[in-house]
């Protein structure tokens, strides 16, 4: 029998705030495109995006669209509420997903919609999109069917 399915964390925990350096990530998310910041001068990826490339100090950024495929680098399972409002959202699975087409950069995200017990380090995942009531779109990941 499969165990509980990984849900999504409580929406009210997260209020999206952006600045000119981070906004393109969230704008692309609204279009269901997973992107990452890449230095236009030296090609080095960085996330979260900062105003300078730590490698060459260029401020020129590109936002290539990624495949949306990645690998679980690490994860945890949150099955206990720290405060009561969390209860309905349990369990959920915060995870680090490594993106091979962005030089192995990691996103801090969630694995959703699969049995918690099926999630493992190294598992292949692909992006899914969650649109919230306030219109914010959040990339999350689920296990790749063939994986």
């Amino acid at each position: 029998m499969p165990g509980p399915i990984a849900k999504r964390p409580l929406e009210s925990l997260f209020e999206l705030v952006t600045d000119k350096w981070t906004a393109p990530f969230w704008e692309a998310a609204r279009e269901r495109r997973l992107v990452a910041a890449r230095c236009a001068a030296c090609g080095r990826f960085r996330m979260p995006p900062t105003p300078f490339c730590p490698g060459c100090l260029s401020q020129e950024l590109e936002w290539p669209t990624l495949s949306g495929h990645g690998r679980v680098y690490s994860f945890t399972v949150v099955a206990r509420a720290i405060f009561p409002e969390m209860e309905a959202c349990l369990p959920y699975v915060p995870a680090l997903v490594e993106l091979p087409d962005a030089q192995g950069l990691r996103l801090i995200t969630n694995i959703v919609d699969v049995a918690v017990t099926d999630i493992s380090v190294g598992a292949e995942v692909e992006v899914v999109w969650d649109e919230r009531a306030d219109g914010v779109v959040v990339p999350r990941f689920t296990l790749t069917a063939s994986g």
């Binding site: 209020e15 705030v17 945890t76 720290i82």
Partner: protein, 387 residues
């Protein structure tokens, strides 16, 4: 020029320790003042001798402390950046003031009162910023959720197990049970540990430090002056803080290169600290290791060179960190079972060990390592010695 060997901890003071919120109706400021008064009395000085403050983790309000305690003048008041990672390092900040002649008697103080905000949920209380958006969306509510991500990778890479984490918790609890100042008195065995609720898988209830209230203060002065004061001086053999970019914001970034990711971010701290103190891991008689989460104790034992990278689990399983072991660790129960005062209890216990007055005294202890953090930088480390 170095601070090594030139300063000493001449006084230590503490309030009783309380479970989260139980220190009310005392105020946090009141707890901090009680610890300061106790520290100067311990040194045989008065509050009027205080002329400096060295804080960490945002510190306290120096003029308010002066107003409250009647401290006539200060010539130094400074705070290390960052959070709990600076607890051990604040002693170095105090020492730098003393060695450079900017102050003579510097107070280092830490205090917590979790009546309104639990540290266990502190990340959810941060004001939303463009940076927090990249981790808040994943539901990382408390530091435990973040450190669990590091712990699982250590398990995956090195085969570290929950039984290894358990040994850190069991060893600390064993030291706490009969310790007069420790909060946790109930014996803990492996079965109880393994049956405990998983708060952030792979970490269970007993892998988390306590949430407690209280304050601990130190009086730091020159080694020369300390020799004339009431207590046997405990010399600051070395104290460093900082860290490298590979660790950086760590929990709030999560893009540390693999080798840094499975560490505690303390490799640079250990290198610089041993060099400054002129010591090696073999010279350390007892270690008071910042234990907010058990897996981070294992990673720190590796970073500070007590075993090879990846061998920390086996090292603790061998009994090495028990109080009869080769490296007695957190002999007062630590923050897991003693009390969590943002790293300050570790310094207090190290001083007690070197004065020879510890409740679980390590026979003949002449040197002690104390660590701060692991957190977003700075991390820090301190080596104390009895001359």
């Amino acid at each position: 020029m170095t601070i090594a060997g030139k300063t000493a901890i001449a006084g230590v003071g503490a309030t009783p320790f309380y479970r989260r919120g139980k220190s009310v109706p005392q105020t946090l400021e009141e707890l901090v003042c009680k610890a300061i008064i106790a520290a100067v009395e311990d040194a045989g000085l008065t509050v009027r001798d205080i002329d400096g403050f060295a804080f960490y983790s945002e510190g306290f309000d120096t003029p308010k402390l002066m107003e409250t305690l009647g401290i006539p003048e200060v010539t130094y008041t400074a705070t290390l950046t960052g959070a709990g990672g600076g607890s051990a390092g604040a002693v170095g900040l105090a020492s730098s003031a003393i060695v450079s002649g900017m102050a003579r008697n510097v107070i280092v103080v830490g205090g917590t009162q979790q009546a309104t905000q639990r540290f266990g949920a502190i990340t959810s209380a941060y004001e939303a910023t463009p940076d927090t958006s990249f981790f808040a969306s994943a539901g990382l509510v408390g530091p435990g959720h973040m450190f669990a991500l590091l712990a699982r990778r250590h398990m995956h890479r090195f085969g570290t197990t929950r039984e290894h984490f358990a040994e850190v918790a069991l060893s600390g609890r064993r030291n706490a049970i009969d310790h007069p100042d420790a909060l946790m008195k109930k014996p803990l065995d492996l079965d109880t540990y393994l049956a405990a609720p998983m708060l952030a898988d792979p970490m269970c209830l007993f892998d988390f430090c306590l949430e407690s209230d209280g304050a601990v203060a130190l009086l730091v002065t020159s080694a020369e002056r300390a020799a004339d004061l009431r207590q046997p001086p405990v010399t600051v053999a070395g104290c460093v803080h900082g860290g490298d970019r590979d660790w950086g914001r760590s929990l709030y970034w999560m893009n540390m290169p693999e080798d840094a990711f499975v560490s505690s971010g303390n490799v640079p701290i250990a290198r610089n600290l041993y060099r400054q103190a002129g010591m090696t891991p073999a010279d350390i008689d007892t270690a008071q290791i910042y234990d907010h989460f058990t897996p981070m104790v294992i990673a720190q034992l590796e970073d500070f060179g007590f075993c090879e990278r990846g061998e920390g689990g086996h090292f603790v399983a061998s009994g090495a960190i028990r109080r009869e072991g080769q490296l007695p660790v957190n002999t007062d129960g630590g923050q897991l079972s003693g009390a969590y005062i943002w790293g300050m209890t570790h310094i207090r216990e190290a001083v007690a060990q070197l004065r020879g007055t510890a409740f679980h005294q390590v026979e003949g202890a002449r040197t002690a390592l104390v660590t701060g953090g692991p957190s977003s930088l700075p991390n820090s480390g301190l080596i104390l010695r009895r001359d």
